[in-house]
Symmetry: C2
């Protein structure tokens, strides 16, 4: 067992102990004839803030007590313990489950009543998030997975569930990025890569993979099928921090692309508590930029008119707190609005099938001044 895997296994034991501790505190309170209580940090907008020093969106300190002897809280209190107990079983049995599988697994009629533990998944999902923040563990550490999206290929070997996988020899499809990429089930081995290139969509990834971009430029190539799911973000975070690889993002020149970048870089407001283990504040946006239209002599064929929704969304993003003081980004978004059009990465194919892999990105990688932080 490698040092890292050993540490990871200790981590897993810790998570199990935290869950057991939660249960013990309840038992203890009952013994003392006190009101059993679980203290849960508030996952509200008002309790999320941008930490300027760490450059990530973080959760504040506000907490709420969830009490058993409170008519309005008794059900959610019980649900919290039920989800905790379900996760403990998963960890003990070394199995994982989707959030939908967790819901089905824990759903039942409470004996002697017509009351269901959960009426539908919209009740169990937020309880799981409560549990994550209550014991400060990622969902993946609780052995719960989301649907996976995204692929990876490049100069890296990994060990996933005991299988050694050479990401240099993955053919046309790449390895499907698993939902859970915690160190105990997804270890890094030999890595020669100098950086990670993350692209927005699978079709763009295929262009780069086919043109052997990662081989020529000695990197790792990932995509997240649009907004990257948790597994992809966690993997980007781990590659950046553990393998010390810079992360370059190639995204569409539109509000959706800006938003994807902001989530990769700073985290999201909804899931502020995860930022510290998912966000990559050092990520760099290398394109597509509004100025590329002139710089690369693109034609009208690349233009997609922006609509009211784009304008509204762009203005919202301009007001994000992480964005304060970033003059270059402000200029960038304002130029897009002034142009009145947006551009996709794929529109670069108007200049040639492999223009994006052979000219555009190599030039962007060299020209650090053109990067957006």
């Amino acid at each position: 067992m490698s040092k890292k895997a050993g540490a990871a296994r200790r981590d897993r034991k810790q998570i199990g102990e935290k869950l057991a501790g939660l249960a013990e505190s309840v038992v203890e309170a009952a013994r003392k004839r006190q009101d059993p209580t679980v203290r849960i940090p508030l996952r509200t907008l008002s309790n999320a803030r941008f930490n300027k020093a760490r450059r990530i969106i973080e959760m504040g300190d506000a907490k709420q007590d969830r009490r058993f002897f409170n008519l309005g809280m008794a059900k959610s209190f019980m649900q919290t313990l039920l989800v905790a107990s379900g996760c403990k079983v998963l960890i003990d049995e070394d199995k994982t489950a989707s959030i939908r599988q967790i819901y089905y697994r824990l759903k039942h009629t409470i004996a002697g009543t017509n009351e269901k533990t959960f009426n539908d998944q919209s009740e169990s999902d937020p309880i799981l998030e409560d549990l994550e923040v209550a014991i400060n563990a990622l969902r993946e550490e609780l052995h719960v997975f989301a649907d996976s999206r995204g692929s990876i290929a490049g100069n890296l070997t990994v060990v996933s569930k005991g299988d050694t996988i050479d990401l240099r020899r993955m053919g046309a499809g790449g390895m499907a990025i698993p939902s859970i990429v915690e160190p105990d089930v997804f270890e890094f081995r030999k890595c020669d890569a100098r950086f990670v290139l993350h692209v927005e969509k699978g079709t763009v990834w295929q262009r780069f993979n086919e043109d052997k971009f990662w081989k020529e430029h000695n990197c790792i190539l990932t995509h997240g099928g649009g907004q990257p799911p948790r597994g992809v973000r966690r993997l980007l975070h781990r590659m950046h921090n553990e393998l010390k690889l810079p992360l370059y993002c190639l995204l569409d020149n539109d509000p959706w692309g800006y938003y994807i970048y902001s989530v990769i870089k700073q985290g999201s407001i909804n899931l502020a508590f995860e930022s510290q283990r998912m966000a990559v504040p050092d990520a760099v946006f290398i394109g597509v930029r509004s100025g590329d239209f002139e710089e690369f002599g693109l034609t009208d064929d690349v233009k997609i008119d922006i609509d009211e929704k784009d304008i509204k969304r762009a203005k919202q993003i301009l007001n994000y707190p992480w964005f304060e003081g970033k003059k270059e980004w402000k200029k960038e978004i304002e130029l897009m609005l002034k142009h009145g059009f947006k551009m996709e990465v794929e529109s670069l194919l108007t200049k040639g099938i492999s223009f994006v892999t052979e000219t555009y990105v190599p030039q962007k990688l060299k020209d650090k001044k053109a990067w957006l932080d």
Copy 2:
């Protein structure tokens, strides 16, 4: 080079020649001062029919001539040749492109006019389909790919783009199924598997992969992320026909699950011309079946009430022509309607985390009488 790869390369040459032939016939007509014409089979509902002997949805014989000297057809005639020429370049350069990349690649302003070759992708997509039927080639043979979804793992080795990939050692994520799995870029090698199990969703696939189902039952495990994309369907077709493996489908007990099954088995009406190289008429539906509720002693927790939309969709499917004379399927769908509820594969977790992999599917595989054809 293996025999198969050699044959595949000849196929590719043939496709290139067909495209060149299309162009030559136009040149020839111009030389003879005749109206250049491309003959295109009609991709309409009225020209699709269910072939009872072959058990697939096929395109009929109706064709339409697309003429250059016809004001209403001149633009689509030109677009057809443009797409053909774009695909010829892809084949010659041994590159592939997405349908969106094709659109951008071929979009330009016609010299001396303000007219664009294509105003948006909704113009180039149907032209590509016209071309597929006109020269009787799959989109993938024209080097055009769709966005990919779906994963594969199991007792099979494949060669993708020169990389030998052991699908027995793919860790938690599996291999992402590429969009293009034609024999020249995706070859089968060592296969010990006895069958293919196709499940609907990635989360169910993860349950089976984690429980090492494919190892224990000596099979290949695939999913298509819902309605399987073309690459997944083509791969299922090839594994069934070339590796002689039975195909078992595990899908939700709802109209969407029925529809996915019908597309895997008989093809779809929209893309009737592809059925012969995508459909698997011998595919078998092993579950989830309405009768499972009683048979496996499931509780109310698995029930999801059906709504008007489900009822309407189920009745449509009952009227599909491929469905005529299939009494068992008729009973199946009517029982779902009578029950008034639908069930997902994941609901089987109410019986235990691994009930679906350890009990349900093994029992279904043994009990051939419970299969739906």
